[in-house]
């Protein structure tokens, strides 16, 4: 059996392209109005809970301030991003990747077990037996697949006025449109945080094999 299913590998790389373009065009959009608010409305600095720094051109798509250009990239790439997540969830459930590798058992939630997992991670010891992923990996992937990625799609749709007739109950539940916009921004940076840790841990654990396996599929247990 392959270490990574074809659906996982395809999604992984398509999603990487989507996320990078969405994040960098999102930073350009942030530059258009770099203030975040809670509640339904807000426009003035004194209403804001956060004044966001201006992101330099080398971090943004396009590589100069262009709200129109950034929005073209952002709303285009949102489609493969959202549909890809939907399809990979269906695949994960169908091929039992989710139930086999990503669900946790009650024993894994014991503090002693979590503590030893953290200690092993800090020693850069990534060996674990029994299942494909250790608890911290399951937790990270669970948060990414269950909260951050779907959350980014839901909040992105929630700040679109065209979706307002359908989504206003959800928007009110979160506290208003500007709260939804703030969450969109927070989720994006949490995903960036995951991205950094993910890349670091790959670099620390045989990066060439990891990269090769995410392309060719590799062999399970190899």
């Amino acid at each position: 059996m392959k270490r990574h299913a074809l659906s996982t590998r395809l999604w992984h790389w398509i999603n990487l392209v989507c996320v990078v373009i969405l994040f960098m065009s999102g930073l350009n959009i942030s530059n258009a109005h770099p203030r975040l608010y809670w509640g339904d409305w807000g426009f003035a600095p004194e209403d804001a809970w956060l004044i966001v720094p201006r992101f330099p051109d080398w971090m943004t798509i396009p590589g100069r301030y262009s709200l129109a250009g950034a929005r073209e990239w952002h709303v285009l790439m949102a489609w493969p991003f959202a549909l890809g997540l939907l399809l990979v969830w269906i695949a994960m459930l169908a091929n039992r990747h989710f139930s086999r590798d990503l669900t946790t058992s009650r024993a894994e939630w014991r503090w002693s077990a979590i503590r030893s997992d953290i200690a092993k991670h800090l020693r850069l010891d990534f060996h674990h037996s029994g299942s494909k992923f250790n608890f911290l990996q399951k937790l990270a992937y669970g948060l990414v697949f269950g909260v951050l990625l779907p959350g980014l799609i839901a909040t992105g749709m929630g700040i679109s006025p065209g979706m307002e007739p359908l989504l206003s109950p959800m928007i009110e539940l979160v506290g208003g449109r500007q709260s939804v916009r703030s969450l969109h921004f927070i989720f994006a940076w949490l995903l960036f945080g995951f991205f950094v840790v993910h890349v670091l841990l790959v670099l620390l654990s045989n990066p060439f094999r990891q990269l090769r396996d995410m392309i060719t599929g590799g062999r399970d247990g190899a």
Partner: protein
């Protein structure tokens, strides 16, 4: 420092690639296609429903004016000083019964008041109470001809030397919350918010809500009108469908 240099270099390469891709006909047609997908998805999922209307207590204390803050002509100043008594809103184009309406004419039509949230493309929001006749009432009075596909809004203001204008399709034109507003929070429209008349098209972003309205024109196509993309900002690269 070296690592940062590498990151900047990698980003520059990636960005250069992206802007090259963005200029290709294939990317441009994908951008246009995604705009159609967004509109189709919103129309399908939203099903013509209404946007949320708020309580008076939720109105924001100040309604920011963006873009044009006034119309910079002596004629506008004179009309404003006279309470816009001579202001006319013409309804022309593909209609059987062209109209020229005064503010009084508009105020005598059945009125709709709605407390809605205005979302700017930049990201900010404000809540206000808008009052005016539904656009559908005006269009019915003018008797739209079967060829009409879009409604174009002519404005008195200019931005960077060009006339502001906007356009919407008939689905938005006949939406119950699409109104020609003459009042904000119970008072005549402030100058910065488009006095004496502005469009409210609640399922789209702020730049679609044309201010300082002078004319409504029913057309079959947006080609040949100003830059041909259906609006001032659309001619400068922004989406014509601004529901996202």
């Amino acid at each position: 420092m070296e690592r940062r240099g590498f990151m900047v270099g990698a980003a520059a390469l990636f960005l250069g690639g992206c802007s090259k891709v963005a200029d290709t006909p294939a990317a441009q047609s994908l951008f246009r296609a995604s705009e159609r997908w967004n509109r189709a998805a919103h129309r399908f999922l939203g099903g013509g429903g209404l946007v949320k209307e708020y309580d008076r207590s939720e109105i924001s204390p100040f309604f920011r004016g963006n873009g044009s803050q006034t119309v910079d002509t002596p004629a506008y100043a004179a009309s404003r000083a006279a309470g816009f008594a001579d202001w006319r809103l013409t309804v022309t184009g593909l209609v059987a019964n062209p109209l020229s309406l005064s503010l009084d004419n508009l105020k005598r039509l059945p009125q709709r008041s709605q407390i809605t949230r205005h979302d700017c493309v930049e990201g900010w929001s404000a809540i206000g109470e808008w009052t005016g006749p539904q656009l559908s009432t005006i269009l019915d009075g003018a008797q739209l001809l079967p060829d009409a596909q879009f409604i174009v809004f002519r404005c008195a203001d200019t931005l960077n030397g060009s006339r502001y204008y906007e356009s919407i399709d008939l689905d938005d034109a006949y939406h119950p919350q699409t109104i020609v507003a003459h009042a904000l929070n119970g008072e005549p429209l402030p100058e910065r918010n488009g006095a004496p008349l502005r469009l409210r098209v609640e399922r789209q972003l702020g730049y679609k809500h044309a201010k300082y309205l002078t004319g409504i024109e029913a057309v079959a196509s947006l080609e040949g009108i100003e830059g041909g993309n259906g609006g001032y900002w659309e001619d400068r690269g922004y989406h014509w469908y601004a529901g996202i």
